[in-house]
């Protein structure tokens, strides 16, 4: 059992864009003349796009418009009037403000802690052949198979015993647990995709182990690492149930706040808050969109 970066036939080249291989390499005959667009007809293609577009974007637009609505009468397709008052409500509520700040703090700390703990491990899983390597890699995955809510219930006893309930550290632990799989698997695949010959060439040229890591391996594995960093930032940013169970009432983050907002405020306030909460996710993921679509994520979930 070796961890050599053999790229089997079923793997996309990790550095290229998703659409690149098909558009560049596929001959015109397969692309145009006999494609499924021809087969099922352009009408069906357009219908598929419209239905999927409505399915994916419809709810978001429907909610987004609400943030600027005075009132909305069924069955009108537009609100009765437009206003910015709900944004004022959100920006002037100190509780909501502090939850915004807190969310960013947790997300940042979680990302850093998770990186410090998991990145060296990812490197080890990729480059060392130690006993139980594969078992451990799959063992990390077991954290996903136990239902989150059940895990938090189970964690409660332990947290009471360690005095971690309603503490910053307790919440960070819960958040980091949700990132371990990404932070280990995706960078491990990225490290494996760095050809060993590059590292060996650098070694032959006289570079030490750490110079090779710093100058050759890390830069080449950076796209995968970046995807993992951003995914774990967002995992923390989105985490609600565990934060509620462990952090309540001391630490209320934005997603936790959403639960009570939906029940206690007008729907327009929840809509404003939704937009605010979605902005960081959207911006960060747009930054790494190319790598996510290009296979860094998909690559990380195939155990080698």
């Amino acid at each position: 059992m070796t961890s050599l970066p053999t790229l089997p036939a079923t793997t996309t080249p990790t550095t290229s864009d998703t659409t690149a291989p098909s558009t560049a390499a596929l001959p015109r005959t397969a692309g145009r003349g006999r494609g499924p667009a021809r087969l099922v007809g352009p009408v069906l293609s357009v219908a598929f796009v419209i239905v999927l577009g409505l399915f994916v974007l419809g709810p978001l637009l429907w909610l987004g418009v609400r943030a600027f609505a005075t009132n909305w009468t069924y069955p009108n397709l537009m609100p009765d009037g437009w206003t910015l008052q709900w944004w004022n409500t959100v920006f002037q509520d100190p509780n909501l403000q502090s939850s915004v700040v807190l969310s960013f703090q947790f997300a940042f700390v979680t990302m850093v802690v998770s990186a410090v703990l998991c990145l060296p491990a990812a490197y080890a899983f990729s480059r060392f052949d130690f006993p139980g390597r594969r078992v451990f890699l799959i063992g990390l995955f077991a954290t996903n198979a136990f239902p989150r809510m059940g895990l938090f219930v189970a964690l409660a006893s332990l947290f009471y015993a360690f005095n971690l309930m309603s503490t910053f550290l307790g919440v960070v632990i819960v958040h980091v647990l949700g990132t371990v799989v990404f932070m280990t698997w995706i960078p491990a695949a990225a490290f494996s995709a760095v050809p060993r010959s590059y590292e060996e060439a650098a070694r032959d040229a006289g570079a030490g182990r750490f110079t090779v890591l710093r100058k050759v391996t890390l830069p080449l594995a950076m796209p995968g690492i970046t995807v993992a960093l951003i995914m774990s930032f967002l995992a923390s940013f989105d985490e609600a149930q565990g934060t509620y169970l462990v952090g309540n009432p001391e630490y209320i983050t934005m997603p936790t706040q959403m639960y009570s907002l939906v029940l206690n405020y007008p729907p327009q306030v929840a809509a404003v808050f939704s937009i605010l909460l979605a902005i960081p996710s959207a911006v960060l993921l747009l930054l790494v969109r190319k790598h996510v679509m290009g296979g860094q994520l998909a690559e990380g979930f195939q155990i080698r």
């Binding site: 059992m1 053999t6 036939a9 079923t10 998703t18 659409t19 098909s22 558009t23 390499a25 397969a30 006999r34 499924p36 293609s45 994916v56 419809g58 709810p59 978001l60 429907w62 909610l63 909305w72 069924y74 069955p75 397709l77 998991c118 060296p120 491990a121 080890a124 060392f128 130690f130 006993p131 063992g139 990390l140 954290t143 996903n144 198979a145 136990f146 239902p147 809510m149 059940g150 895990l151 219930v153 006893s157 332990l158 015993a161 371990v180 280990t184 967002l234 989105d238 609600a240 939906v262 929840a270 939704s274 979605a278 993921l285 296979g295 994520l297 998909a298 690559e299 195939q302 155990i303």
Partner: protein, 300 residues
């Protein structure tokens, strides 16, 4: 290059921090919870055991009781919700995989604008926090939502899907679509052009090429997409909590209710373990698929 013994131990040492973290904060609590579900209320379970009501307990460390499991499995509400949870999981997984395959084939076999739009659309949900997605989907399919409004304009009385199992499936498909699509697209893209062309030159139709050439080669990513969707769906909380009905509920919501609202933590833990056992079944398929791919490319 034969790794030396020191090299191997160094690897294990580097890999240990996340392993220890997971062992302490996931593995160990699960074992403690398992002991609690079997009637152990000493040690770490003493706090929870004191607060809780209606427990099945034992008086010595070497004894076990399956009383809690009997109670939970005899509860008609649990029986109904277990069936619903499994059915929702199967429906969601099938729909997600079918959609992901449809998109992946478009992307692979055609370079039209349709392919580009479809693959971009499918990834959008990844950019949106689940809490918001659930809330957005609920309002979209609610009694005064878009679907009913637009139907009312053309004179149709559309069904109310808000707070129904249909909305739960819609929400779970929505949230699981990006990951499955990325996995399947990556797998289908990996099929070499030469193989597809050869099949087409030999006279194979598009469906025939898909079934005989592309599908077998993209099997592993498909299985990974399916198992992750199934496992995520089995224990889902946020989507069914926001969009689902009061009855039946999915088990993820039930176990939160039993813990927080009914003060029946033992039943809650039993449910978590039942979900875990079902999820392990799906997880086993995933491990098998990975092992198979590793074996076929000579990596084991």
């Amino acid at each position: 290059m034969k790794p030396s013994r020191r090299h191997r131990l160094g690897g294990l040492a580097l890999a240990s921090p996340p392993l220890i973290l997971v062992a302490v904060f996931v593995g160990f609590p699960i074992l403690v919870a398992l002991a609690y579900s079997l009637g152990q209320v000493g040690g770490l379970n003493s706090t929870i055991g004191t607060i809780a009501t209606e427990q099945s307990t034992v008086d010595a460390w070497y004894k076990v009781t399956f009383g809690a499991y009997r109670t939970v499995f005899a509860d008609p509400r649990f029986q109904r919700d277990l069936v619903v949870t499994v059915l929702v999981t199967l429906a969601t997984t099938v729909i997600v995989v079918v959609l992901a395959w449809g998109i992946a084939l478009y992307v692979r076999l055609s370079d039209s604008w349709v392919a580009k739009i479809l693959s971009a659309l499918a990834v959008v949900p990844m950019f949106i926090p689940v809490v918001i997605a659930s809330w957005a989907i609920l309002t979209f399919y609610a009694a005064d939502g878009f679907l009913r409004s637009i139907a009312a304009h053309v004179g149709i009385e559309a069904p109310i899907w808000g707070y129904t199992i249909t909305a739960v499936v819609i929400g779970l498909v929505w949230t699981n679509l990006p990951f499955a699509t990325l996995m399947v697209v990556s797998g289908v893209q990996g099929v070499p052009d030469a193989l597809i062309e050869a099949a087409r030159d030999a006279g194979a139709s598009i469906p025939r090429t898909v079934v005989s050439i592309i599908a077998p080669m993209a099997l592993v990513p498909t299985v990974i997409a399916g198992t992750f969707t199934a496992i995520g769906t089995l224990g889902a909380f946020t989507v069914p909590y926001f969009t689902g009905p009061n009855a039946p509920k999915m088990l993820g919501v039930d176990l939160a209710d039993y813990f927080q609202s009914f003060n029946l933590p033992q039943s809650s833990v039993v449910m978590a373990i039942v979900i875990f056992i079902v999820a392990s079944g799906f997880g086993g398929v995933y491990v098998w698929a990975n092992y198979r791919s590793a074996a076929s490319s000579g990596r084991v």
